[in-house]
Structures are given as structure tokens and as C-alpha cells.
Symmetry: C2
Subunit: 156 residues, 2 copies
DNA sequence: GGTGAAAGCGAGGACCA
DNA sequence: TGGTCCTCGCTTTCACC
């Protein structure tokens, strides 16, 4: 699948990961190419699945979310059905902005946004605790995001 | 700071969060506006800090990262200095793609990418364990990302 | 808040080296 | 692969409602 990215591809990925709204001309400039080959390479990176999309990054605070919580969830059972029902339900809940099925003491790790601690408490009681087959949850709150950018390393 | 977003602003945010490469014309169309007011509104959203940037989303797998790990870190002390040194060091390590200072049993929660389990093991030993003032670390591996999109909810 | 017009530039493709 | 050229449509910024 990774059809060996050369130096130029990597430079494109770095540039686009940093600013997805660069015009093709600016992008071409930044990697010392003309616009056509630049455009072709970007399309290839999209088609081959290296670039999976483009997102505007929004400020949770500006949208009224003062609390970020990490919620570890332990399930009552580990059957296929239990996991499926749980996962499907998760997808419908916008406050849960990320979820991983993980190894270790707990089964899922969720990242949850809430207006404030009080509304998180309510959310935990009314929504999280009532998700299918939940045995136990453990919440940890973010005091501060030390590395907010989430850039996937593109070496060299 | 949130200068009360109206229905149209929210529609713009939803559209851009979904696809940051929409042209201004497409964007205007999707919210039933002409291009000028649409462009003005987007600029305002950027200047007021609601939109903090635009990112190409890359596939970790396509870039050779087969393992995502969540690493909880407990510090030896909780002094200001300790935290600062730790955080500064973190920022230099690209494999750590996210880090939160959190409440609870552990002090920091890191999200780490690695090629495979073996290279994660090495990374944990050579890099993570040698970060300043680390007392204990606990690693949990992602089997699967159930919600990979990380979209901040924009209600209504 | 909104519209419409105008100038210049970029997107996207055909084609060549 | 990369470069040139070309056309259409879009971006961006007006002045104005």
C-alpha cells in the first residue's frame, strides 16, 4: 500500500498536514515543482489512501467545551455482540469525539467533551453509564493539552 | 470570545470540519449564501479563534505506523520545574502525537505511534522511560479506532 | 447583515520531453 | 517522472444596499 514515498511526497504531506488550505500553486512552490506534477502527486496521495481527508481544526473552548475527559470503560462481557452494540451506540454520541478499543485493564478509551464539570457529571450518569454492557468507568480530566496538534510524523 | 455563532456560522463550521478543501464557492452554495459574505464569515471565524487551522488527515498505517499506544505516565514529583522539563522534552518527540496533563492516578496521558510492537518496546525503553522525572509508565494498545474522525460537535 | 461586479489567479487537463 | 500551455471558473476585494 505505501508505494514508497519519495522526498517530494513527504514534503507535500508535511506541508498539507500543517496547512490544508494551501493552494496548489503555493504547494508546488514550496516543494520546487510546477503545478501539474504537484497536483498529480497530491491526487495520487489521496487515491492511495495516504491522505484520507482534510479537516478544519476548531477550538473546543470557543465552541463552549471547557472540559476534556478521558473515560476508560470496562465491559461486562467480551462477546462480539456486546462490543458491536456498544460501538454502534458510541457513534451516535457527538460528545464522544474519539474512541479506541484497547488492551489492558479497561476495554475502551473514550475522549469526551463537555461544557463544564457539572455537565460532564450528568453526561457520565445519564449517557456513559447507560451504554450497553458497561461494567465500570473511570474518568480522568485534562488540565491542559500539552501537544494539541496531532501531526503524524513523516520522517526525513 | 464566542461571539454567538448563528445557524449559518455553525453550518460553515460543520462543512469545513468535514472537508477543509471546499472552495469558497462550494461553501457559499452549501449554506445558501453568495461568496462574499461566506468568505467574510470564514475569515471572522478564523480571526476569532474558532477555526484554529486546517489539516490534511494522514493514514498512520499508510505511513508505516501499525501501532497506536496510549501511555499513562506517573511523575516522581509534581513541581513546576519537573512538569516544564517533561513537557518541553515531549514536544521534540514526533512519535508522541498527543499529550494531556490529566487528573487521577497518572499525571500525563500520551498517544504514541510506532511501526510495530517491537519498535514500540524499544521506544518505551529508550525514550519514554528516560524522559525527565518519570516514575512509572503504563501502556495500553489500540486494537482498533472505533471513532477516528475527531469532530468537535457543533450543535444545531 | 446582504448583493453584484471585476481583475487576476489557480484548477485541472491535454500534451510533450 | 517533470514541464508548458491553455481555458474556465473561482477567489478576493470592491462599492453599494
Amino acid at each position: 500500500m505505501p508505494q514508497s514515498l519519495d522526498r517530494t511526497d513527504k514534503a507535500l504531506l508535511i506541508a498539507l498536514q500543517d496547512n490544508a488550505r494551501l493552494t496548489n500553486a503555493e504547494l508546488a512552490d514550496s516543494v520546487a515543482l510546477t503545478t501539474s506534477p504537484c497536483w498529480r502527486r497530491v491526487k495520487l496521495l489521496e487515491e492511495s489512501g495516504v491522505i484520507t481527508g482534510y479537516q478544519a481544526i476548531l477550538s473546543p473552548k470557543a465552541l463552549g467545551y471547557g472540559v476534556t475527559a478521558f473515560v476508560s470503560v470496562m465491559m461486562e462481557s467480551h462477546s462480539r455482540e456486546t462490543a458491536r452494540a456498544f460501538e454502534q451506540r458510541l457513534l451516535e454520541i457527538p460528545e464522544i469525539i474519539a474512541c479506541h478499543n484497547v488492551s489492558g485493564r479497561y476495554d475502551f478509551l473514550l475522549e469526551v467533551l463537555a461544557k463544564d464539570l457539572e455537565s460532564f457529571g450528568e453526561f457520565a450518569r445519564e449517557v456513559l453509564q447507560t451504554l450497553p454492557a458497561v461494567k465500570e468507568i473511570y474518568s480522568s480530566f485534562s488540565f491542559k493539552s500539552v501537544k494539541p496538534l496531532r501531526q503524524i510524523p513523516v520522517q526525513e
